[in-house]
Structures are given as structure tokens and as C-alpha cells.
């Protein structure tokens, strides 16, 4: 059974007098896996609950395969949700939990039994049917919760941070299991998470949310490599920031040499979507610690941007060294293979593709 397409248009949700979703537009392709990514309070869970019908909508529309379901009750939406708390019914056995949705649909007892066995086998839970769910481990409960949702062949599977209560080691496996199941069944899935890596690994498309708005919507590569705002860049791991000055030239955007940085020119095609090649004025550069390289502090003028700084702190997280480098009054984190002493003067080389530039203004990081 192919999954259904979901469309959300101009969705607004209020909690009392507080607006939590400010006009969300989102289209989800049938059979795709979409992650709603953001920090807590960004509205991702509210969006999922509005789609599932648990939260009343103030304005906007939700459609599934073109059918308007904005006003439909949760049980008439053809969706199934997996909860962070798993929300398994403690007064039922594993088999009863999984079979509940089938029983509601008036399916014959034998057929339910067969389907439950099939689901248990698919989730590698054979023999657990008669057990009370209270006797299962966290990972097993998570799979029962998933099985309960999948048993009814929903058009759309909603996942509300289903992995956040699992041990880190199990979580890695479950990510791939869920992804494989979703692809095998061809079901549409919407996954809420605050875990960047989880979203990157599982989703076909990522929707980064910030303060009740969609900050960016794209493939994992797009969101990671071409963030549209300083917020997205920071959230996707480009946590180092440095203030620079830029002016437009024919070759692209030029970085003006400063007390702690060399000059550089970044070709227009290498610039991300965050800044115009004609920008004239202060910019904020975001970069990842692993995208920076260490350079000779005396290096000048090879066309790439080099920051001059001093090693403040060194640690070894495994595989490489990690340095906190002070550049002027800023501190940046740089990963490098070579061993340096604390206090050493050092250059930090940032190639064009490592830099995410955004205009330095009050509105930085916020889309209108």
C-alpha cells in the first residue's frame, strides 16, 4: 500500500493567546520520510499534533491526497502515531496492544491473530505476544509501539521523538530498522526529533523549524551544506562564528583583511544562499570545527581566509585533537590531526566551501 501525500498550507496554531505556529507551509511526497527538526519549543511537536488532529488549528489547511482533513477527528485521518513515551496500554498484552486497531475495524479474530504474528515477526518479537507490555524492555516497548501503529497499514506514520528514550547504542540500530521498514512498506513518515544526526540519517527531507516557523526545508545535503540562515547553520553544527567585513568585487565577495584575518575572495558560485555576492558591510561567518584546518601563523595572501589565533585549550576526543583557539575576543573550536601545545600561535585556514556567510544584522538568523 503506497503512502499518502500530505500538504499543510498556512497552518497557524494558538495555545491560548500565544501563537505557536506562524503559518506553516509544507508538502510531503507520498512514500517519503520527512524529519521535523528543531530545538525544544520550536513548534515541531505542535505541528505533528496539529497534523494528527490532537491540537485545534486556528487557520490554514491540512490535506491528505487532496482530501481536506483540517476538521476531521484524529481517528478519521488514516494516520498512526508512535509516541515518545510509547503510550502502550499496561492493561493489555503485547498482542492485544498490536491488535487493538484491527479489532476496532471489525476484522475477524483469526485474521487479527495472523496479522499480529506477522507484525511480531517483522519486528523480531516472536513469542512476545502473550507477555504484558510492562514486562518488556525499553527497546522492545518501542518496537511494540511501532508495530501497533504499522498493524493498521496507516497512510501516514507519525513519529514523535520515538527514539529519545532509548540507550544510545540501541538507538543507532533502531534508526536503520525504522528507515528500512518505512522504505519496505512504502509508507509516508513524519518524524519529529531534536537530534540532528538522527534526522540526517533517517530522513529524505529535513524541515528545520525555529520559533513556530519553517527555517529551511530541503534534503539533508542541502540543509547541511547550504543553510539559508545563521540559525540553520548553527543548528546544523556550524557553531563557530567570527565577525568579518565583506565588499563586492568582480570576482565575487571579498573579505576585507582585519587585525585577526587575512583577506580572501569567495567566488559567487561558492557563496551559500545566506548572503548576496553584492553584500557590502559586516558579515558573520559560521564554520564547523572539522571543516577548519590549522595553518602556519605566518601564512599570508594565498587567497584563502586565514584567522590568526592562539591555542587556549587542547583535548583528544578520539581520532583527532580538538583545540579551543582564541581569535581576537572570540573563541573558535578547531579539529586537527597535529599535536600543538597550549599557548602556541596558530593560523586557522577556512576554505570557501567551509564558510557559511550571513549578513551581520539584528535580524540575523530569522526569516521574515
Amino acid at each position: 500500500m503506497p503512502g499518502a501525500g500530505l500538504e499543510v498550507a498556512g497552518l497557524e496554531v494558538d495555545y491560548g493567546s500565544v501563537r505557536v505556529l506562524h503559518g506553516i507551509d509544507l508538502a510531503v511526497e507520498p512514500g517519503s520520510f520527512v524529519a521535523l527538526l528543531g530545538s525544544s519549543g520550536c513548534g515541531k511537536t505542535t505541528l505533528l499534533r496539529a497534523v494528527s488532529g490532537f491540537v485545534p488549528v486556528s487557520a490554514g489547511r491540512v490535506t491528505v491526497n487532496g482530501r481536506d482533513i483540517t476538521a476531521a477527528p484524529p481517528d478519521k485521518r488514516g494516520m498512526a502515531m508512535v509516541f515518545q513515551s510509547y503510550a502502550l496500554w499496561p492493561h493489555m498484552t503485547t498482542a492485544q496492544n498490536i491488535g487493538y486497531g484491527l479489532k476496532l475495524r471489525g476484522i475477524a479474530r483469526d485474521a487479527i491473530k495472523r496479522r499480529v504474528e506477522e507484525i511480531l515477526a517483522m519486528l523480531e518479537l516472536e513469542g512476545f505476544g502473550p507477555r504484558m507490555v510492562t514486562q518488556l524492555s525499553g527497546g522492545q516497548r518501542q518496537r511494540v509501539a511501532l508495530g501497533r501503529a504499522l498493524a493498521i497499514n496507516p497512510d501516514i506514520l507519525l513519529l514523535d521523538e520515538p527514539l529519545s528514550n532509548l540507550d544510545a547504542r540501541i538507538r543507532e540500530d533502531v534508526r536503520h530498522e525504522i528507515k528500512a521498514l518505512q522504505q519496505g512498506l512504502g509508507i509516508t513518515a513524519i518524524h519529529v526529533t531534536h537530534d540532528r544526526e538522527e534526522a540526517m540519517v533517517m530522513a529524505d527531507r529535513i524541515v528545520v523549524m525555529d520559533q513556530g516557523r519553517v527555517a529551511q526545508h530541503g534534503t539533508p545535503e542541502e540543509v547541511y551544506n547550504r543553510p539559508v540562515s545563521a540559525f540553520v547553520a548553527g543548528f546544523m553544527g556550524a557553531g563557530n562564528t567570527i565577525r568579518l567585513s565583506a565588499r563586492p568585487t568582480e570576482a565575487g565577495l571579498a573579505i576585507v583583511p582585519g587585525p585577526n584575518n587575512t583577506g580572501a575572495t569567495i567566488a559567487a558560485r561558492a557563496l551559500g544562499p545566506g548572503v548576496s555576492p553584492r553584500h557590502d558591510g559586516p558579515v558573520v561567518a559560521h564554520f564547523r570545527s572539522e571543516a577548519a584546518e590549522l595553518a602556519d601563523p605566518e601564512t599570508v595572501g594565498d587567497g584563502t581566509l586565514v584567522l590568526s589565533g592562539r591555542v587556549e585549550q587542547a583535548s583528544y576526543p578520539g581520532g583527532h585533537y580538538r583545540y579551543a583557539v582564541s581569535v581576537g575576543d572570540r573563541k573558535v573550536i578547531v579539529d586537527a590531526a597535529e599535536r600543538l601545545a597550549v599557548g602556541a600561535a596558530v593560523g586557522v585556514r577556512l576554505r570557501a566551501e567551509a564558510l557559511h556567510l550571513f549578513p551581520d544584522s539584528e535580524q540575523q538568523g530569522r526569516l521574515p
Partner: protein
């Protein structure tokens, strides 16, 4: 030696507590089996089961009032649950601005001097023809029992995780179906406990029954009262023992069913 000395005050306190609890009970037990007991004797003169025969003789007052008491208690429980289950669910789930006020309102009948309240209820019931009827007594008991019923069922429903209901809704259960198959079974222990409380309250209730029921309705507490006024201490003691049986039995049930997670939500 000093250790033994330190035990003396504790032993005295324990002894007093035991005396305060079991003294009256022992007196009750003695009276129930005393055939003759008069001053200046410290203990009954003759023991026997004569009064038990009298109480339990076919068509005796005691058996009849026992059945009246049980019928009234069961009807009170039914009426309380019919009100308390929907009210408790609403109070636990819905965001009502006046929620605290509503919870307090159920406590109101307890807040005023009961004699004044019951005299006025009796006056009202006279006008409605409810005096001396089972229904009248059941209504009085219900008002009294509702505070336990509503507060405990509210706590029982509040202890049911909202996500458990949403999980059922999301895979296709209607609101009613969700309530019947998920919420109600999970709240059942708390609801049972509240029913037991109401049952016991009704069984023991005296004042309201006296004002609204007498002389047509005789419940066990009323029988006991009449017997002790008339100096029939044996009859009164035996009735009291009969009343004790369901109390102790149900307390054990309540103790099993009222879990800490429900108790923690009572009155919140």
C-alpha cells in the same frame, strides 16, 4: 539497664494507644455476648447467645434494617458513580477555569453544621413527599458521598496518561471507544475505591437518615441508636459488630486498589 529504662515511656504510650483503639472494641465484644451485666460487677455475670438469636430471628428488626441499609448503600453508590464518573473525567481532562471552585463545591455539604443542613433538607423533602422514602435517604447519602466519589475518581482519571488515550484515537478509536477500552479500565481501581468509600459512608450515615428517614426507614445505625437509647446494650453491640464487618473488609479492598499514584492526585 538504661536501654530497658528508655523503653518504659514507649511502652506506656503504646499501651495507651492500644487501649484507646481496642478498649471500646473489647467493651463491644463483651456486651455482644453478655446476657446479664450489672453494677457493681466488672465483667458480665452470665454469657450467652440469647441476644444473637433475638437479633437474627427470622423477620427480626436487625435483618430487615440490615437489608434496608445495604439497599440504600448500593443505590447511593450507583447514583454517586453515575455523577462522579463523567464529572471526574471532565474535571481531570478538560481545562475548566472554574475547576478548583467545582472541586470545592462538592466539599460544601461537609462545610456547614450537618444538623442545620439536614433539618432544612427534611423540611424541603416534606414538601416534595420524599420524607420517609428510600429515595429521600439515598439522595441525602449521595450528597454526602459525592465529595469522596468525585475527588477520588478525578484523581483516578488524572493518573491515566493522556498519551494512552491519544494512542487509541490515532489508530482509529472514537472518543467513546477510547474511554471505554482505555481510560475506564485504567481508572477502574480508583473508581472501585471511591465506590467502596461511598458504600461505607452510606452504611454508617446516621444524622441525615434520622432526619429524612424516621420513622419509616430504619437502617442499621438507626436501629443501634434506638437500642442503646432503650438500654438494650446487647442489641446495640451486636449491630455495631455487624456494621464493623463490611468496614474492615472494604478497607482491605481499598488499601489494595488505591495506589500511590492516584492518592497523590487527590484534591489537585
Amino acid at each position: 539497664m538504661t536501654a530497658a529504662l528508655r523503653w518504659i515511656p514507649r511502652a506506656i504510650v503504646l499501651g495507651l494507644v492500644v487501649y484507646a483503639i481496642f478498649g471500646p472494641l473489647a467493651n463491644l465484644a463483651l456486651w455482644a455476648f453478655a446476657e446479664q451485666w450489672y453494677y457493681p460487677h466488672k465483667l458480665p455475670v452470665t454469657y450467652g447467645l440469647r441476644f444473637w438469636h433475638q437479633v437474627f430471628k427470622p423477620r427480626g428488626d436487625a435483618l430487615e434494617s440490615l437489608s434496608t441499609s445495604v439497599i440504600i448503600a448500593l443505590l447511593t453508590v450507583a447514583l454517586c458513580l453515575v455523577i462522579a464518573v463523567p464529572a471526574g473525567y471532565a474535571l481531570a481532562r478538560l481545562r475548566l477555569p472554574a475547576r478548583a471552585l467545582i472541586m470545592l463545591a462538592f466539599l460544601l455539604p461537609q462545610a456547614f453544621p450537618s444538623l442545620a443542613v439536614y433539618i432544612n433538607i427534611a423540611r424541603l423533602f416534606y414538601g416534595l413527599g420524599l420524607n420517609g422514602t428510600i429515595l429521600g435517604v439515598v439522595l441525602v447519602h449521595t450528597v454526602h458521598g459525592l465529595v469522596f466519589a468525585v475527588w477520588i475518581t478525578t484523581a483516578a482519571f488524572a493518573a491515566v496518561d493522556r498519551d494512552l488515550e491519544l494512542a487509541a484515537r490515532s489508530i482509529g478509536a472514537s472518543a467513546l471507544r477510547t474511554f471505554l477500552t482505555v481510560t475506564l479500565p485504567l481508572a477502574a481501581p480508583g473508581i472501585t475505591a471511591s465506590a467502596v468509600f461511598v458504600f461505607l459512608e452510606s452504611l454508617d450515615e446516621f444524622t441525615g437518615t434520622y432526619f429524612v428517614g424516621v420513622p419509616d426507614i430504619t437502617t442499621l445505625p438507626l436501629l443501634m441508636f434506638t437500642a442503646s437509647i432503650a438500654g438494650n446494650y446487647q442489641i446495640a453491640a451486636i449491630t455495631a459488630l455487624i456494621l464493623l464487618i463490611p468496614s474492615i473488609g472494604f478497607m482491605l479492598v481499598v488499601e489494595r486498589f488505591l495506589k500511590a499514584d492516584v492518592m497523590a492526585k487527590v484534591g489537585t
